[in-house]
């Protein structure tokens, strides 16, 4: 299931600027949640001297760039795992094909309107801004849409000459009707998933749009029965539902108090409260809901997060000639609370009425979950500057958290960073460089655990007689915070009057005592899962940014920005000498999962791969071992192994070009990547069912290259496989294929992410003060060696944590190509 990310509640029209803080330095300011970096979004305020009204409008149209291809030569032969397999005889010559796959996707249209008023009082002591916006969007999948309404008011006021205030209140209301996301329990069963896989496997000789019988019932096309047959994709998007709606109100108040001339106090209070209602309907006739005659899940989620921070800032104070110091010290408190009431009902009385009142009263069950977390911290920072070209900054922060046992719930972490503008210190450098700066940083940051992670609690049992029983997780009263140490060195150079700039950063970050959730062990402990400290991971990387303005004249300019990134993450060790750790949420498909082992990448894939010759004698190391009775390769099912599959790219490059000619501006962003493996699980699934285009040559006899496992495989004279298989007759060739063959290695891509053409209209058009129009194209083209739809996939969502489902393509929807037309007018 996929749910809305609450970052989408923000109205982009209200954003003034976005700052990305990448390293642990962010934690010094923002605490534990910023341990891996922070994105700081500053919203717009009214500005003195301006005033007026602005209207923006944007309409966009998106079409999918492609759809998966299946073979339409051979017809269905058998039913298994919810749908047909396509190992049958070829379709007759005049067979009519309905082109179901391409015909399924609709054009997605979205429109946004935004109106804002802003201004300032005559003496500029008070500024204000009010903005309201509406977004309405439909998706490429039929019956999916998203709507949002935003309202924001912000005001700054200089109350007295020592007190100023800044207040922002935002409200958003959104509704989201999403499709189910397509996953299968095993490669052979796909019941209850989203529309995508059902679409692929639907016979093209039957019109998929005909999803209801004349009597209005679900139309079944196999003899498997309603509970076992995969839903027709139109059926599932129209009858099953994943719907959510939410209200969110955020309030931020900032006070700036300057009681003395050498410093000022900054006080920030923030409240983020949202209520979201979720509804998941599994229709009584759909595969997921049939056995229970319909399942309705409702959930009310109330979240209220409060944050408060107070800092005392010391103005710059000169210690001696050339040397000055400034800094701040402060503390913060935060309290987060979520309360979730969930209700499930089954056995609908009326099959088409979606309401909890329509479910069987004896088949309702509910659950309430409350989660709370509180933190406090004290922090300080001091910056020494020498002659304005050498800066050293020291930070220290101590956090107290509610989620670690009391004995260890307080932890301190320091940081130091320095920057040296050597072009100012050594003016002779200016002959070559316009400006030059070296930076170095070291920071440490600690992180806490999830709430309730170290003491087991009892669940209400649903077995006979009720009662209570322990959940899967065992205790860990020794849980302690994890720490990361990071080093970074960098340089920033400017050339040719700053027409060209180069920035380079190298970083290395080691996290130790990493809290690993859901570690498994022998049941002899009395529990199945533990949350343990003990993993160590290391991330290193290089980032280079080259910017330049090759052409700069009065009327025309050309700016280039290229950003190169290369990073690697390695698992150094796992808790208690474990040999493999995997995230079970990413075990989406078959016998491959996001597993990592000591010494290999954090983005690797482990699986039950083929057996291969181990010894080097006979010169055939690494070749496949073949089963002498079938002529097909054998799979190693003793343990999940690492065969070097790694989803981490070698490097990525972002290339932005911006052209300006008088009032016309054209920008485009290219996203380039080299290396990194992607697991094309969709193609494996299609192959197992005989639907992949790669199975068209099934009548061609072939020999699988490899060595027979007849006892002689490790001798100097192994038996080379000579058994001929005809896959059309021996379908085990396809159905037994290891997923390994579908992990596509070294995937590269060049994609045009974004291209925008904007024109600023002359002043006075329509009585406006400012006016501009623009056209943007997103995901315009993709050049890649990946055979699937789009390698930029994630089998899960960002909520999975860790390296998640990135690079696992199973039932993912194709990426759309979008064209966006917009107008901005200010009065």
């Amino acid at each position: 299931m996929d749910f809305t990310n609450h970052a989408s509640d923000l109205n982009p029209e209200d954003i003034e600027s976005i700052t990305v803080l990448k390293g642990p330095e962010a934690a010094a300011l923002y605490g534990i949640d910023a341990a891996n970096g922070a994105i700081v979004i500053t919203t717009k305020r009214g500005r003195p001297g301006t005033g007026g009204m602005e209207y923006t409008n944007s309409v966009s149209v998106a079409n999918v760039r492609g759809a998966p291809e299946v073979q339409t030569t051979y017809g269905p032969n058998a039913e298994s795992g919810g749908a047909y397999s396509y190992f049958g005889t070829p379709y007759p010559a005049g067979a009519r094909f309905y082109n179901n796959i391409n015909g399924f996707f609709t054009q997605a249209v979205s429109q946004k309107h935004n109106l804002s008023f802003s201004g300032a009082s005559g003496d500029s002591r008070i500024t204000y801004r009010i903005s309201g916006g509406v977004t309405r969007q439909t998706g490429n999948i039929p019956n999916t849409w998203y709507r949002r309404m935003n309202l924001q008011g912000s005001s700054t006021a200089q109350v007295t000459n020592w007190l100023s205030a800044d207040l922002v209140i935002s409200y958003s209301y959104s509704t989201n009707n999403q499709p189910f996301k397509g996953v299968c329990a095993t490669p052979t069963t796909c019941v209850g998933g989203g529309p995508m896989l059902g679409l692929l496997v639907y016979p093209d000789t039957i019109n998929a749009r005909d999803y209801l019988t004349p009597a209005g019932q679900r139309r079944l096309i196999t003899s498997l029965g309603a509970a076992s047959e995969v839903d027709n994709p139109y059926y599932t998007v129209n009858k099953n539902q994943n719907y959510s709606k939410g209200d969110r109100t955020t309030v931020n108040l900032g006070l700036n108090i300057a009681p003395v001339s050498w410093g000022f106090i900054k006080l920030n209070l923030g409240s983020d409260a949202y209520t979201t209602k979720y509804l998941i309907n599994r229709d009584p006739q759909s595969a997921a809901g049939y056995n229970n005659n319909g399942i309705l899940d409702l959930s009310d989620d109330l979240t209220r997060n409060l944050d408060g921070q107070a800092t005392f800032n010391f103005n710059r104070f000169t210690l001696m000639k050339g040397l000055s110091v400034s800094g701040f010290a402060g503390g913060s408190m935060s309290t987060y609370r979520t309360e979730d009431d969930a209700l499930e009902g089954m056995n609908y009385l009326d099959p088409n009425f979606v309401s909890m009142n329509n479910t069987d009263i004896t088949k309702r069950s509910n659950r309430t979950v409350v989660i709370r977390r509180r933190r406090m911290s004290a922090f300080g920072s001091a910056t020494l500057s020498y002659n304005n070209y050498l800066f050293v900054n020291l930070t220290g922060r101590n956090d107290w958290t509610s989620t670690i046992p009391r004995a260890r719930n307080s932890f301190f972490y320091p940081g130091v960073n320095g920057s040296f503008v050597f072009s100012d210190a050594f003016p002779f450098v200016r002959k070559v460089l316009t400006s030059g700066r070296l930076t170095a940083a070291f920071a440490e940051v600690g992180r806490d655990a999830s709430p309730y992670a170290f003491r087991p609690s009892l669940l209400s049992a649903t077995t006979t007689g009720g009662g209570f029983r322990y959940d899967f997780w065992g205790p860990n009263v020794n849980l302690k915070p994890e720490f990361a140490k990071s080093y970074e060195v960098g340089a920033e150079l400017g050339f040719l009057n700053d027409r060209v700039g180069l920035e380079a950063t190298f970083y290395r970050k080691t996290t130790r005592d990493q809290i690993v959730q859901n570690v498994r062990g022998s049941y002899g402990t009395g529990f199945i899962l533990f949350n343990l400290n003990g993993a160590t991971t290391r991330n290193t990387g290089i980032e280079l940014t080259l910017r330049g303005t090759p052409i700069l004249t009065r009327d025309f300019s050309w700016d280039v920005l290229a950003n190169f990134n290369h990073s690697r993450g390695t698992t150094v060790s796992l808790p208690f000498g474990q040999t493999e750790f995997y995230n079970s949420d990413t075990w989406l498909y078959g016998n491959v999962r996001n597993g990592t082992m000591p010494g290999i990448s954090t983005m690797s894939l482990t699986g039950f791969f083929y057996q291969r010759v181990a010894t080097d004698s006979g010169g055939r190391k690494g070749q496949l071992l073949i089963d002498p009775t079938s002529g097909l390769p054998l799979r190693d099912v003793t343990a999940f192994k690492d065969y070097g599959y790694d989803r981490q790219p070698d490097f990525t490059i972002g290339l932005t070009n911006g052209f300006k000619y008088k009032n016309l501006a054209f920008d485009f962003l290219l996203d380039i990547r080299k290396g990194g493996d992607v697991f094309n699980a969709t193609e494996h699934w299609l192959t197992v069912r005989g639907l992949a285009k790669g199975t068209l040559d099934r009548e061609t006899p072939r020999i699988v290259p490899g060595i027979l496992k007849d006892g002689k495989e490790n001798t100097p004279n192994p038996t080379v496989n000579g058994i001929v298989v005809v896959p059309a007759a021996n379908t085990g060739y396809y159905t037994g294929m290891s997923e390994e063959l579908f992990i596509e290695k070294n995937i590269n891509w060049v994609r045009l992410r974004d291209a925008t053409l904007a024109y600023t209209l002359p002043r006075g058009v329509l009585g406006s003060k400012t006016a501009s129009v623009y056209i943007t194209a997103t995901d315009l083209f993709l050049i890649t060696n990946y055979t699937g739809l789009d390698p930029i996939v994630n089998g899960n969502t960002a909520a999975t944590g860790g390296s998640g489902g990135v690079g696992i393509d199973f039932g993912n929807f194709p990426m759309p190509r979008t064209f966006n037309f917009g107008v901005r007018v200010g009065f």
Binding site: L267, S402, N409, P456, S522, G524, T525, F527, F530
Partner: protein, 545 residues
């Protein structure tokens, strides 16, 4: 007028800075919100009990799907001519199949049982403590009988360990017997806070009746002592008989778990709604014992109330050596499923015997214990006692079958579902069967082990998987009765095509649970040879002299 303003400023600043100073002492209280508000961390002792008792009765049913194929109570026919792994006395590699009791003893019982017993001890609730010891002992007994060596009993439940060593089976049996004695001692006590009302709250099996739990403890002890029948001097049949005499006195003492059938987890695992058995079919072996083939033509009245006929009315059992034994028969000859319907039918329809959604599922019965007494008395050289116990046992089993067919409306006239028309066994049928000398020999001298063990099999068919598999292994599946020369288990045939890793040997143990031990505790397994491909064919300790 700068001075007053400065004072105001400073006052405001001081106030604002004072705020954190006041709250700091309350800091730790503010942070003390990590006690899970959604569920308790400790509850009263009797609230741990229902879950434990549920798994006491249900876990054997989970594993019975697989053990029942070792003992040929049923088989799982498919579309391939090769039978399933379990039908060939093998196992499913990389799977937890057949190791549910491992999971339930270590986790479902596990810390829940420890907490319950600790609380009971502190509160002097000797009845709950006694039940706790009984469950603990039963757990180690069943795991030892099934798997052989298990996790060292002095290392288990130590949460600072992630791998464990294995114990020796003789030590495991010592602990089992000692804990059974503790259970008995505590269940005999009526002092302290012993309270039937309190116990009833968590006890769906005996409703809080301490005296019945005491009998159950003696029953488990009798079973445990009888398992040592191959161990020469360690086997003391007189102790077995004495234990049986202190255990169940009638069918009213049977340990039955009544499934409530309101949600998936409290519905009978063997019922049609949970859908675990629709593809299974009875084999030739139980059919042969009941249709007269193995008892000189005496047809058992229980057959029509336990087994299922084919649509043509004939009672047949499939051959486990033929993987597609069901589909090769013409439709009219295919045996119906255990619920009594052809194919996978039976959903929301009346069922039969112990296969109904709200059945009272048996854990241990009076008939079972009387058979144990009969076997022990026979081995002790006391055929008169043996014959009397044997006769009582068969009669009790007939009553048991009648009672099970009345739990959830199984017996009766079901118009619209004629496949399920079962009637109760009448007292005339019962008397006639017990008087039939082909079943119950006229004199004690005529009684043989093959009578006792084959009739015990019939009485435990479908539910007594742990016990029957121990019995069959004690007699090496096909041992001959020394007196009559017939097989102890009349008509039983080992599979002709054993699973590939068996090296032609029958199965004698189940490998410990894959996702607990083979993934995470390989060092422990290697100590006892459990990593060998044919580990499952090695006889366990109780079977070796």
């Amino acid at each position: 007028m700068t001075q007053p303003i400065t004072r105001v400023r400073r006052a405001a600043a001081a106030l604002l800075l004072a705020v954190p100073a006041v709250t700091l002492p309350g800091c730790q209280n503010f942070l003390d919100v990590n006690t899970n508000p959604n569920t308790p961390e400790v509850v009263s002792a009797n609230l741990y009990l229902p879950g434990i008792l549920h798994w006491w009765a249900t876990a054997p049913a989970f594993d019975g799907r697989f053990l029942g194929r070792y003992t040929q109570m049923w088989m799982l026919p498919g579309t391939s001519t090769t039978p399933s792994t379990w039908d060939r006395m093998g196992y499913d590699p990389g799977s937890d199949n057949g190791a549910e009791q491992w999971r339930d003893v270590y986790w479902s019982f596990g810390q829940n049982l420890i907490d319950m017993m600790t609380k009971a001890q502190a509160e002097e609730r000797w009845d709950i403590l006694g039940v706790g010891y009984l469950m603990k002992a039963w757990g180690w007994l069943v795991l030892t009988d099934m798997h052989g060596p298990i996790i060292k009993l002095d290392q288990v439940f130590d949460q600072s360990r992630l791998t464990f060593d294995y114990d020796t089976e003789d030590h495991q049996y010592e602990v089992v017997l000692a804990e059974l004695d503790s259970a008995i001692t505590f269940l005999e006590r009526t002092d302290g806070a012993v309270d039937a009302t309190y116990l009833r709250k968590g006890d769906l099996i005996y409703g809080g009746d301490r005296s019945k739990w005491l009998k159950a403890a003696w029953g488990v002890k009798a079973l445990a002592l009888n398992h040592l029948s191959n161990k020469g001097a360690l086997y003391r049949p007189q102790d077995v008989i004495a234990a049986v005499d202190k255990s169940f006195g009638s069918n009213a003492d049977d340990a039955l778990l009544p499934y409530q059938g309101t949600n998936n987890d409290n519905t009978n695992f063997y019922g049609r709604t949970r859908g675990n058995l629709p593809s299974y079919r009875q084999t030739y072996f139980p059919v042969g014992l009941m249709d007269g083939t193995q008892f000189s033509g005496a047809v058992d009245p229980r057959m029509r109330r336990m087994l299922s006929p084919s649509p043509d009315g004939v009672y047949r059992g499939l051959d486990p050596n033929v993987g597609d034994a069901l589909t090769i028969l013409p439709a009219a000859q295919r045996p119906n499923n255990v619920f009594g319907y052809p194919g996978t039918g039976g959903l929301a329809l009346p069922s039969r015997y112990i296969f109904s959604d709200k059945s009272k599922f048996p854990q241990m019965t009076y008939a079972e214990l009387q058979f144990v007494k009969a076997e022990a008395a026979y081995r002790a050289g006391n055929p008169a006692v043996a014959l009397s116990a044997y006769t009582t046992a068969i009669g009790a089993s007939i009553d048991f079958v009648n009672a099970r067919n009345a739990d959830d409306g199984q017996s009766g006239d079901h118009t619209g579902a004629p496949e399920s028309n079962i009637t109760q066994i009448s007292s005339a049928e019962r008397a006639a069967f017990l008087a039939d000398t082909r079943i119950v020999p006229a004199t004690p001298a005529g009684l043989t082990l093959s009578h006792i063990m084959s009739q015990k099999y019939v009485a435990l068919w479908g539910w007594g998987h742990n016990e029957i598999w121990v019995d069959m292994r004690r007699y090496h599946y096909t041992d001959l009765d020394p007196v009559s020369g017939t097989k102890v288990f009349r008509g039983f045939k080992l599979p002709t095509n054993f699973y590939v890793d068996n090296a032609g040997q029958p199965v004698y143990r189940v490998r410990p649970r894959f996702n607990s031990e083979y993934v995470w505790n390989k060092p422990g397994l290697s100590q006892v040879g459990a990593l060998d491909a044919d580990y499952h064919t090695k006889p366990v300790w109780i079977l070796q002299p």
